[in-house]
Subunit: 310 residues, 2 copies
């Protein structure tokens, strides 16, 4: 049994058991992949893959159980690399942060700025992605830190920490009738065509729920992936916008007006998520501390250690 064989097992499971792809992904020949699998099965004395003729279709029962352990071993083998780098180049290395548009655009810039000042030698990779991709990047080890409002809490292998909370607000063109009301209601909002986030993003679920609970059926004329797009279409007069309030900048968005409405859509909490068991360089902890002073290394480590379900 060697690490290459384990990598092959994992990669095969990830790539739908297409050994040609596995070979490419691991920069080796397909025949070698095939032989490694055979060798491992021979050594262990168990069929790990379900075969139909020559094609691999999936994992057998022992294969499934084995995969769980293999993933752990490879995670640890990766941890060794990180750990060792931590000592050889203390403030040097790479940190990959993956965040949704909203976070990358409005919450993280100041953190990134601070971080770059403190750790000029760390190569910070900021990756923008949707909630699901954030989860998969954290799980696969491609990313060290994930920042998002959705989806993170449900994944057992991730541990997430509350970063900050925020509210939605309504954005209208300057001089819009809504801006002249003393107090706006949900019903007022629902009377206009709406431009807001796409489903599964940035608290869209809470927006839908608020309208549904009020018995309203708003006309959502556009679902955007980010606030910049929302603002653009509001400016064009396509409708009024509902978006995260911190995405509004009085200076830059002079043609628009923000109408606070914290009470309608509830509070949203953005989380910082980490893969349980993934070794973090010390500067990764510093990054998290910069996000929120409450999340010091001790706190985060404690959270990670507390429960690590299989």
């Amino acid at each position: 049994m060697n690490f290459q064989q384990l990598r092959i097992i994992r990669e095969a499971a990830r790539r739908n058991f297409n050994l040609t792809e596995v070979g490419n992904a691991l920069f080796t020949s397909q025949s070698g992949v095939s032989k490694h699998i055979k060798d491992l099965e021979d050594e262990l004395g168990v069929e790990l893959f379900v075969r139909k003729g020559k094609r691999l279709l999936g994992l057998t029962e022992p294969g499934e159980e084995l995969l769980v352990i293999v993933e752990r071993i490879l995670l640890d083998s990766n941890n060794i690399k990180n750990l060792v780098e931590q000592y050889s180049k203390r403030d040097e290395g790479q940190l990959t942060v993956v965040a949704t548009h909203t976070q990358a655009r409005y919450a993280l810039p100041q953190v990134v700025h601070e971080f770059k000042k403190s750790f000029p030698k760390v190569h910070l990779k900021l990756h923008q992605a949707g909630p699901d991709e954030i989860v998969s990047m954290l799980l696969s080890g491609e990313a060290d830190i994930g920042v998002a409002t959705e989806a993170l809490g449900e994944v057992v292998k991730l541990d997430s920490f509350p970063y900050y909370t925020w509210h939605h607000a309504v954005v209208v063109p300057k001089g819009h009738p809504l801006s002249k009301l003393q107090a706006i209601t949900l019903k007022d909002i629902a009377a206009y065509p709406l431009v807001t986030y796409h489903e599964g993003l940035t608290g869209r679920a809470k927006i839908d729920r608020a309208f549904a609970e009020a018995g309203l059926n708003p006309d959502i004329v556009m679902s955007a992936l980010d606030a910049d797009v929302i603002k653009t279409y509001v400016e064009l007069g396509m409708g009024i916008g509902i978006m995260a309030s911190m995405a509004f900048s009085p200076a830059k968005d002079g043609d628009l007006q923000l109408l606070e409405c914290e009470q309608f859509f509830g509070a949203n909490t953005t989380y910082i998520a980490l893969r349980r068991g993934h070794y973090l360089r010390s500067f990764a902890y510093r990054f998290i501390e910069l996000c929120s002073s409450r999340l010091d290394e001790k706190t985060v480590r404690a959270g990670l250690a507390l429960e690590c379900p299989e």
Copy 2:
């Protein structure tokens, strides 16, 4: 990085960094061991061992951290072997139970008997050892299941489950003055020379505490490792015995008499201990169930998963 290198690192730490011993323990040459260490250090780019000239003295800081991960990886690699065997030979294999004398002699025989009937093909190794050796055998993976009254609860890497509770009793030669009293007191007991367990064994701590709290200073004329020795010396008239009540058999110990005294020394709980993260064959769970019907596989697995500190 390969598994042999990791095994060498672990073995070096266990064998006081004597590479010659490591070579012998792993059935390979000392020179190979030396080279493997050098290769790994080169690959990782970090010194893992503290050296004085050519001698290895210990681990460096990164070496210490690495060892933790290495232990985990090797534990998992061993788990793979067990897991696979589980499927190839479901009711065949080896189960190593390590227990103190008291448990091996008085509590486990019926369990072992039942188990052998149910799993005739499983090679059951019952190993007798002191509490500390039980801990180390569990930690090193030499044993699958440990049974003891002491020491198990304090080790973080072990998880232990209450097996049964028992009490101490006084054993005297037949016709001894104590046996004629209506009710005996601690003071009565302390008036005679005592034969009981060695320190750190079978609830000896509770015996000492009971006397101390009563302000008594008994004369312990002999500390034995097991009840059979205690009984032997009580028969010889060396003193009166204090031992686990289940070690007394009216049939076999006809020359002796048991005086119950549950109230004096408190209850003792014997535990079944497992190494967290150690894969157990299904028949290992059956063994535990035979010990106590409350400890079914689900319960034990849940306990193991619940918290797994680093």
